[in-house]
Symmetry: C2
Subunit: 462 residues, 2 copies
């Protein structure tokens, strides 16, 4: 496993002192970084937060034996889940089976993952129509056991499954991933007899990709989950190290926090130069936004902090977003994700067509081209004083993907310490949920229905 | 065609005067809006910018007759293009054939669109492996005729096609969309005998979805392109009207510009509650970013303006981004895209499972649920003083999709006038392109290779 972090273009030497960090500014942050490390290490040792332990404490055998017993009987895994229950599985699938919609053909020896992460009726209808209930394993994932989008979609999918293969057989084709002994999904799973895997109580949804949330769909679709954890474990060895030149996630957290809070970089662009890492950018978008977007700090002060993460894809978004990135307000920092070795270099056919715009590329290869674009964009950003850094993953395989997850989770946890916010809650989404419950007539939420009516009445009066 | 724009939650009455507009602030902008309308109307009448004329001046018959002659002979359209040559076609495909990866099965009577909009070698390999050259039409799209990502990928795809069906037949299966009489693609197309369609000189890539760039792939995949244009034409009737209560795009441009420049909303979240409109959010992301992200205004003053567009999907991103949107810095405005009538309401099966988190939803429908989530999120944003507006499209069909394109293009053009920037160029991406050319050894770009070497040497010394 080899991931490097090139941070030179974050510094004043390369992008000037208005927008880049001086060595002095960086050094003056090292005390805060040491405290962040110590603070999070204690929370982790005390078991308050569990993600750091995930590479070591997993019942892989349980997952693997279930997968072995089902093997060959399905060509699709239908995952019903949203947010942290969907983004990790999607990131793994995109990286290791390939980005949609050009994945390898699915069949019983190479099943695909279909993720139902929305309640758009046209989307759900199309998704079900694309699968055969006789060849589908349904995976229902919700930590609380009661997420409305997931319970409603599960009602649909379970009914579809029962109609397709019979009510008697259906439960044997459902796997539930939820919290043990808590929430309605666990109760339902026990009564119906679904296979069940549990999410540790001290691991939040957006940090759960290396729990059964991410491991079960990965194993079902042929990913080596031992390697995912192996890569993640390797990161732990860096992440508890006090030396900032060794501890990549602490170093990147410190730099990103300094650029954000001292240099006004209120937006972070996650910019992989790899279609396979695009899902990872969306997974990171949740991790960073929900963990660090907070109204209050841990002392209860109203702070309204949060750096807005943006997902961009290189080279594609050079033709969509880079105009803004280069010329617009200098309010962004860029996290470029570069792949060192592609599985194939992608030879460009050598035949010359007799036109210059084609011929200079003939006989070269796509790995060289995309890497040239990546370096050229970093250089152009730098010449325009836009701070940027580059993570290089040696290759896109299970080990590196696991490592990248763990590294970004550590970085996020450290950033939470630096900001002094609780990176593991998400109070801000509760009000919208309650309004939805009110509108859908859920028991106990009548007051929110009333508040919605008052809001609508006020709007009408304007 | 019916699109409405609910702007109440953008105003101080609903979100307070720190973050929302007072009626006075809005009224004081009406003069600027009138000037913007006048200014852009003149540029449009003078033919400087051409997109406004597109609904009326198209040779649909030429496209339709080519499509008719090919019909039944292909199950895939392989579009080679990037940026404005890919995002419009993707937005149409996502809206009207369905969002990836759960589209209806493709066959010769219902062909799909495969878009090669990157040079990642693993992505290109997987994409080609997913298609059969005997059943594929290749569509190569570049306005300049020389975009490196497109010319290189075309070399690959053309070679694949020639190997699959023979060098003699291959040209009859290629369609080129480019600029007439300019650039190497037109030269190549003429020599090889590709069918060719042209992009008007005065229509930039990101405004080109209603030229052959968007119309040819749409027609090939069964979209009624007459209806796309019909919807767009209906918007023109609003967009030249001086009355702000009638002229939706001018009104939304004014409100978004005021919130951005007077209330610090430096980020705009394009937030469709519909998987089918997700592609549209990405298309808009390019339109808004490239058109309005500028270093200089039209007088040559250095301004570094640009509102950062972010694409989010409802209800999905309620579980990923809304925590930040509600609690983080109040630096965003929200453009929600709501669908009035889904093609299917998506009945949730009525059977009660005996668990409350499931049972209150049983027997209801997904159209109601997603709409409740949409309204609940708008209400929660509003209660937290986050300005938000809602476009409601009556349904997702070709007419409304065409109208939405035209409306957002007008809004962007008007916003460019309000900001006094040239919304139709993109100088900022040139440097990165030149560095890439230098690295790839293109003739005439040696100085950029040298500059890259100097940059690398400086980095090495740090």
């Amino acid at each position: 496993m080899k991931i490097t972090f090139d941070d030179k273009n974050y510094f004043a030497d390369m992008v000037g002192s208005t927008d880049g960090l001086s060595r002095k500014e960086f050094d003056s942050g090292s005390k805060a970084a040491a405290q962040a490390l110590k603070g999070f290490h204690k929370l982790s040792d005390d078991g308050v937060y569990g993600f750091a332990h995930l590479p070591f404490n997993q019942d892989l055998a349980g997952i693997q034996s279930l997968v072995a017993s089902l093997k060959g009987s399905f060509d699709s895994v239908c995952l019903v889940g949203i947010g942290g229950s969907a983004l990790g599985p999607w990131a793994v699938d995109c990286a290791l089976r390939g980005p949609h919609p050009v994945q390898a053909k699915h069949d019983a020896s190479n099943p695909r993952l279909v993720i139902l992460d929305n309640v758009d009726p046209m989307f759900l209808e199309a998704a079900l129509a694309s699968m055969n209930p006789k060849k589908t394993i349904v995976l229902v994932v919700t930590k609380s056991g009661s997420t409305a989008e997931t319970t409603s979609a599960f009602l649909l999918v379970y009914d579809w499954l029962k109609q397709g293969i019979g009510a008697k057989k259906a439960p044997s084709r459902v796997i539930a991933v939820t919290t043990e002994g808590k929430g309605d999904l666990d109760g339902l799973a026990k009564r119906e007899g679904f296979a069940t895997f549990y999410i540790p109580q001290n691991v939040g949804g957006r940090f759960s990709v290396l729990t059964p949330v991410g491991l079960v769909p990965a194993a079902l679709t042929g990913v080596d989950i031992g390697k995912l954890l192996k890569g993640a474990a390797a990161v732990n060895h860096l992440a508890w190290n006090g030396d900032l030149s060794v501890n990549l996630p602490l170093r990147s957290a410190l730099i990103h926090w300094l650029l954000w809070t001292k240099k006004g970089k209120t937006i972070q662009v996650a910019f992989p130069y790899s279609n396979r890492l695009w899902g990872m950018a969306f997974w990171f978008r949740q991790l960073w936004a929900e963990s660090l977007g907070k109204a209050k700090d841990r002392k209860g002060n109203v702070v309204h902090v949060g750096q807005t993460p943006v997902a961009a894809l290189g080279a594609t978004d050079q033709h969509s977003q880079v105009q803004l990135y280069i010329e617009g307000p200098n309010d962004k920092l860029f996290s470029i994700y570069r792949v060192n070795k592609f599985d194939t270099v992608g030879k460009i056919p050598p035949e010359k067509l007799g036109f210059e715009s084609f011929d200079y590329l003939a006989g070269q290869n796509f790995a060289k081209l995309i890497d040239a674009e990546c370096r050229a964009t970093a250089a152009a950003l730098t010449e325009n004083q836009r701070p940027n850094g580059t993570y290089t993953v040696d290759k896109v395989d299970a080990e590196h993907v696991g490592a990248l997850f763990q590294m970004l989770e550590f970085e996020t946890a450290f950033a939470g310490e630096l900001l002094d916010v609780d990176a593991f809650d998400q109070e801000g989404v509760e009000l919208g949920k309650k309004f939805t419950y009110g509108l859908m007539g859920r028991k106990g939420f009548k007051e929110y229905k009333t508040r919605m009516e008052q809001y609508e009445a006020k709007r009408k009066s304007l």
